[in-house]
């Protein structure tokens, strides 16, 4: 695939240096380097704790009402924490990006690399209920209804509920939903389908099913460069390869590793340790391994 996909130009241009210093340097760390596969741009600096719970009462904490004003921070931070967990999971081929307007809406794209849906590139949006984490499970809706037993042929919504009948805080996390969304393309389940036609074909006429899937994958690819369905500065946009923009970005990604190493060496803000691994005695490390 020679299309280089990039986040919306909005998200790139929206981060001039002036804004870099804003709020807590949220994830300003370039995501490129944690895993070279994940290419999520930073969460915008000025976009962090905003998503107000719809009503203060819904914010989980403020039983006495006194601290209702902190409610938004809890929700926003919970979602940020969820996002952090997603990133830590490093789900292969899955990318998400919270929207600019609401932390409750995440844009995503999934690349299928093997199996029936190979070469599929499916954009989707995750909707998180605003009484999260106490509400229902998040919804995941594909931009284009992929031909799949568990995807509603009209709305494009994936049947997430079957995996998360009851959303339990502390146990369920959004990365699980994303993982599930990836999994359904590799392990096809046909019970109580949202798309009965797909289910039946899969069971009865796998060849026809396959060709329909291929059509569906093609259709999705042909719409890859469409404007995003939801207008948002952080929506995920694909564009044809444009050397003016992409060459530099790719170069940056490829060189990231080196500069990182150099950085480590020149880094002054480093902690100290003379503890031998496995030991709990101070200064147990041998002299020669002494950091210099």
């Amino acid at each position: 695939m020679n299309t280089f996909w990039s986040m919306s130009t909005g998200s790139v241009r929206k981060r001039p240096d002036a804004e870099e210093k804003t709020l807590s340097g949220e994830l300003r760390t370039s995501p490129l380097r944690a895993s070279t596969k994940k290419q999520l741009p930073s969460i915008p600096k000025n976009a962090v704790p905003i998503t107000k719970p719809a009503s203060p009462a819904a914010s989980s904490q403020s039983t006495n009402g006194t601290h209702a004003s902190y409610g938004p921070f809890y929700l926003e931070y919970s979602l940020l924490a969820e996002f952090t967990l997603v990133v830590k999971q490093k789900l292969p081929g899955v990318y998400v990006q919270p929207s600019y307007r609401s932390a409750l809406m995440w844009f995503g794209v999934i690349f299928i690399r093997h199996g029936l849906y190979q070469d599929g590139v499916f954009k989707f949006t995750v909707y998180i209920p605003d009484n999260y984490p106490d509400g229902d499970c998040p919804r995941l809706v594909f931009d284009l209804p992929v031909f799949h037993p568990l995807v509603d042929p009209l709305s494009g919504e994936l049947d997430v509920k079957r995996a998360f009948a009851k959303w339990r805080r502390n146990h369920n996390h959004i990365w699980q939903v994303l993982m599930y969304a990836r999994r359904v393309f590799y392990k096809i389940d046909t019970t109580s389908p949202l798309n009965p036609e797909a289910a039946v074909l899969y069971e009865k006429d796998i060849q026809l099913f396959k060709s329909k899937v291929v059509d569906s994958v093609k259709l999705c690819s042909s719409h890859l460069f469409d404007q995003p369905k939801i207008e948002d500065p952080y929506a995920i946009i694909f564009s044809p390869w444009n050397p003016a923009i992409h060459d530099e970005a790719r170069e940056k990604m490829l060189t990231q590793k080196k500069t990182e190493d150099q950085h480590c060496k020149s880094m002054h803000v480093s902690g100290l340790s003379w503890v031998k691994p496995g030991s709990v005695q101070p200064f147990s490390k041998e002299e020669k391994t002494m950091p210099t």
Binding site: T29, S62, N64, P129, W274, P277
Partner: protein
């Protein structure tokens, strides 16, 4: 004579002083080398005639003739160019000698000259002359001279003649020459070999340059600096030359001199740091730069640091060892254990300064090893220092600063010794909870809990205005283009725009600050803004706390990536068999669920819990204490009974009491009849009342919302300032450290009480009379108690217990102690290690009943503040006043230095950058009264710039002890609330620490 004049035209330099090279370039270039050689020979012939007149004493005329001729000759030699230099194609490796140099070598002319000098009366003056000549020769030569024996040998001989101590001019010339030699050698390291191979009077293989320089290591002024620079050059050469390194370590006294020199210099440091500002707590550069003895010490320490930076590992190691064994152990150790409090303060502040100044890892390691492992009088330095936190306010502050420095190193070994090793066995948590150590609180529950501890009396009178519903929200994202979203479950008010939210956060800040707020303080709001607005802003600065927390945690996590283990409860494992965690308490193991237990007592009703589980009981008092297992022996709050059998290392917390626990809970905490009840003692005496009345009369009278004129405001601040200073423990400059009779501040009383182990109860003013004559002597004399739980009991370590003890005492601590204390705890809370994080911040964890949690401690502070507020009628006015003062102070700091204080509400920055009083730091031995005056002027200037005028301290009224007590409590209420926000923010930020922490967080 004619020729002479020509010659002087040829080399127009005067007096043998260096002229810039370019200046002397022109004439020689035009001069024909053959002519120069002829002139040179001519001079030599004249000199030789005198030299050969043996036997008879040289006449004065002879001397000056030789001098003049030599001078001319050496100038010519310096200008001599190697043959074939014209084409410059040859490298400087194998250049043939210049004609003059050739002649010099053939005649061994320099040697002959020197011999002649040595035969006669080689006075110092003549030595200086020779040294200067050689210095000129070496520095200006146009060809490498030192590699020629004919130059090197006489030079070394001359040097060896100058080895004895001598007058300043001689030493100056000597050091200058040596410096020059080192520069040359650094340029051409091969020469170094020659220095080794030349046998001189000094003995074989002795680097004479080196041994001559060593005595000047610690000298002050230019001479010392030149000597150190020169030595540093050799050190740098040693890095790549093992022979040099070995010669330094084996055949020179370099390392011992350097290290023990530190000891000598240390002994001349002021024993007592006299400061006026009651908030002084650490030595800043501007504090010590005018104190010559300290400057001298710091120069040498910096030199050590530099040597370790550039030298060969052999030298490095030897020096580091000498610093440890020749300075730290024999000098620093005893200094830290001096018996007078003043000396303790000074030595602690010095140690802190040293730790902050050392940048080389190897040297820092030595310092840390000393602090962590060295035992003095059976206790490690670390334990002693930990214990000091619990002492009177200045010593406490200085010690807190030291720990701030230690924590900021992000050093695994330090953290291991301070906290982690006590948490490693996980015996502080219920067995069933061990797995929860790693849990992250992603829903902000901990934050909510901390915030709920903000005392009711400190909450904004009216909750912050609800989100502005009028604002046009951007189209609801969810309704937009989401196919299935047509019917959201229940239509709810929409999300306000992000921007407007920030506007509200930024409050009075200028509009452009709305989105990205630069690190400017909230005080960035115009100074003329109504004080009410500013004060109200304190209620809305949570976002900044979040930002700061995020930054600190990221930085800390980044720094800790070099650690050997994650400290997550699994790795590393605690050494030895883990103690059975459930045996000591009579309690059954906790329920398997990590759900909250009502330990945190967020609100009402929790008091009973507190009272029940923490109720006062003074072990050993009257025997009426409840069964210790019932929670009386709050172990990390330190066990009061001496435990002789304790494992090594856990010593020294002299006595950490759970401070007046009864306060919040009424009187039930005083079974022994001691007046433990806090409310009565909070009752302000009438006199105090009136004083405060007087002081604060204006504030409440202001119609809310109207801006106060700056003048009025300034006036008020002045008064508060004066009052602060007045009550400050520092006292006026000349005051003896501890006047025996005048009433001590409550804090000192507290501190003393905790040291002297008086019964807990008489915390009130009533106990003053019972004070023994010299409390400090007692403090010091009282043997360090081995304090801790019985071995079977979980113990979270002396550091935690001292901090918690001090925290619990917050309402009685001075403002500055609380700044530092809360800053330190916040620093601790930023560490990402799950063991530590869960201990401090996981409010869902169920601890062993004997282990006190941070939440419990904070809960008890909250109760104290609330009951104080209830007893103090004008509390709201006082609180308002205190906030105003703190904000003004923050602005003052901010106005003074760029980059000084990022934000006023940050406790430690607030305290840290208090220039007006810090600048006034006068060390007793500061030799220059002008300096003192200058400092005072600066301080004054600072105050003026900040719009404040200092007031001379008022004569302390007898009642000021009470006023101080009230003031401390009111300030505490402000700091405490801010601290809770800070902790809440830290708790939240832990959940979102970037997984991308592969690049250093920005500064």
């Amino acid at each position: 004579m004619e020729r002479m004049s020509w010659l002087s035209k040829l080399t127009p330099r005067a007096g043998g002083q260096r002229a810039p090279r370019s200046a002397s370039l022109q004439p020689p270039v035009t001069a024909d080398p053959e002519t120069c050689l002829m002139v040179f020979k001519n001079h030599w012939a004249q000199v030789l005639r005198i030299l050969e007149r043996r036997g008879s004493k040289p006449a004065p005329d002879d001397l000056s003739a030789v001098r003049n001729n030599t001078y001319q000759m050496l100038n010519l030699l310096a200008e001599d160019r190697p043959r074939g230099d014209g084409d410059r194609s040859q490298g400087d490796g194998d250049m043939a000698c210049g004609p003059i140099l050739e002649f010099v070598a053939a005649e061994n002319l320099l040697e002959q000259l020197l011999c002649w000098h040595l035969q006669g009366d080689f006075t110092e003056e003549r030595k200086v002359e020779q040294l200067k000549l050689y210095e000129m020769l070496i520095s200006q030569a146009r060809q490498p001279l030192l590699r020629h024996k004919a130059v090197l040998t006489p030079l070394l001989r001359l040097l060896s003649v100058c080895a004895e101590p001598a007058s300043a001019p001689l030493e100056n010339s000597l050091v200058l020459l040596l410096n020059q030699l080192c520069v040359s050698v650094a340029r051409e390291p091969a020469i170094l070999e020659l220095f080794f191979h030349s046998h001189t009077d000094q003995g074989p293989a002795n680097l004479i340059i080196f041994s001559l320089l060593i005595p000047f290591i610690h000298h002050e002024g230019a001479r010392g600096q030149q000597a150190r620079d020169a030595l540093l050059l050799i050190m740098a050469m040693s890095a790549s030359n093992r022979t040099v390194a070995q010669s330094i370590t084996d055949n020179s006294y370099f390392c011992p001199v350097l290290a023990t020199g530190l000891s000598a210099l240390y002994s001349s440091l002021p024993r007592k740091i006299e400061v006026r500002g009651d908030d002084w707590h650490f030595l800043r550069r501007e504090d010590w730069i005018g104190v010559s003895s300290l400057v001298l010490f710091m120069n040498s320490l910096e030199f050590c640091n530099a040597v370790i930076q550039v030298a060969h590992p052999l030298v490095q190691k030897q020096l580091v060892d000498y610093v440890h064994n020749g300075f730290l152990v024999p000098v620093m150790g005893p200094a830290l254990h001096k018996t007078s409090v003043e000396e303790m303060i000074a030595s602690t502040a010095y140690l802190d300064l040293f730790l902050r100044s050392v940048s080389e890892t190897a040297l820092l390691k030595t310092f840390l090893r000393f602090v962590l492992l060295h035992r003095h009088d059976n206790a490690t330095i670390l334990d002693t220092l930990v214990g000091r936190i619990n002492s009177n306010s200045r010593l406490c502050m200085v010690s807190l600063s030291l720990f701030r420095t230690l924590l900021s190193l992000n050093c695994e070994d330090v953290m291991l010794q301070l906290v982690l090793r006590y948490l490693l066995p996980c015996s502080h948590v219920m067995l069933s909870q061990k797995r929860a150590v790693r849990d992250l609180d992603i829903y902000g529950k901990t934050a909510a809990k901390f915030l709920s501890l903000i005392p009711r009396c400190c909450r904004p009178e009216s909750p912050p205005p609800p989100p502005d519903r009028e604002e046009e929200p951007p189209s609801r994202a969810r309704a937009h283009g989401s196919p299935g979203a047509d019917a959201p479950p229940a239509p709810k008010p929409s999300t306000p725009s992000r921007l407007s939210f920030f506007m509200r956060q930024a409050s009075a800040a200028p509009p452009e600050a709305a989105a990205p707020r630069s690190p400017g303080p909230p005080a960035g709001s115009p100074p003329c803004a109504g004080p009410r607005d500013e004060v109200a802003e304190l209620d809305r600065n949570y976002l900044e706390y979040l930002r700061d927390a995020r930054r600190s945690i990221d930085r800390c996590a980044w720094a800790c990536r070099v650690w050997s283990a994650p400290y997550d409860g699994e790795d590393p494992r605690a050494p030895g068999p883990p103690p059975d965690p459930d045996s000591p308490p009579a309690r059954p193991p906790g329920p398997p669920t990590p759900r909250t237990k009502k330990r945190g007592l967020p609100e009402e009703g929790a008091r009973e819990v507190l009272g029940g589980s923490l109720g006062g009981d003074e072990p050993g008092v009257g025997g009426s204490g409840p069964d210790p297992r019932d929670g009386g022996t709050l172990v990390n709050g330190a066990h009061t009974a001496a435990e002789p059998g304790r494992p090594e290392g856990d010593v020294v917390v002299k006595k950490v009491r759970r401070s007046p626990q009864g306060e919040g809970e009424g009187n039930e905490g005083a079974p022994n009849g001691a007046p433990q009840a806090q409310p009565p003692s909070w009752e302000p005496l009438p006199s105090v009342d009136s004083l405060l009345e007087e002081l604060l009369a204006r504030a409440p009278a202001e119609p809310p919302g109207t801006g106060v004129s700056i003048e009025t405001f300034t006036e008020e601040l002045r008064e508060i300032e004066a009052e602060m200073r007045n009550g400050g423990v520092g006292g006026p400059l000349a005051a003896p450290p501890e006047p025996p009779e005048p009433p001590l501040s409550r804090e000192e009383e507290e501190a003393f009480a905790s040291f002297a182990a008086l019964p807990e109860g008489d915390a009130g003013a009533g106990r003053v009379p019972s004070r023994p004559p010299d409390p400090l002597a007692q403090v010091v004399a009282s043997p360090p108690r081995a304090v801790g739980p019985p071995p079977s009991q979980p113990f979270t370590g002396p550091f935690v217990s001292v901090l918690f003890g001090k925290l619990e005492n917050m309402p009685h601590n001075s403002l500055y102690v609380n700044f530092l204390l809360t800053g330190l705890v916040a620093q601790l809370a930023c560490y990402p290690q799950p063991l530590l994080r869960s201990f401090l911040l996981n409010t869902n964890m169920v601890f062993q009943p004997s282990v006190k949690s941070l939440l419990q401690v904070l809960g008890s502070v909250k109760n104290k503040i609330e009951s104080f507020a209830a007893s103090q009628e004008d509390f709201p006015a006082l609180l308002f006043k205190a906030k105003k003062y703190l904000i003004a102070r923050g602005r003052l700091d901010w106005a003074e230095g760029p980059g000084a204080t990022p934000a006023l509400r940050r406790p430690d920055t607030l305290a840290r950058s208090r220039k007006p009083s810090l600048g006034e730091l006068l060390l007793r031995h500061a030799n220059s009264p002008t300096r003192a005056r200058h400092a005072a002027q600066l301080a004054l200037q600072g105050l003026r710039d900040g719009g404040l005028q200092p007031l001379p301290p008022l004569a302390p009224p007898a009642r000021h002890g009470e006023a101080l007590r009230v003031r401390n409590a009111v300030y505490c209420a402000v700091i405490f609330s801010e601290f809770l926000k800070e902790l809440a923010a830290i708790a939240q930020a832990h959940a979102v620490t970037s997984p991308f922490l592969t690049e250093p967080p920005e500064e």
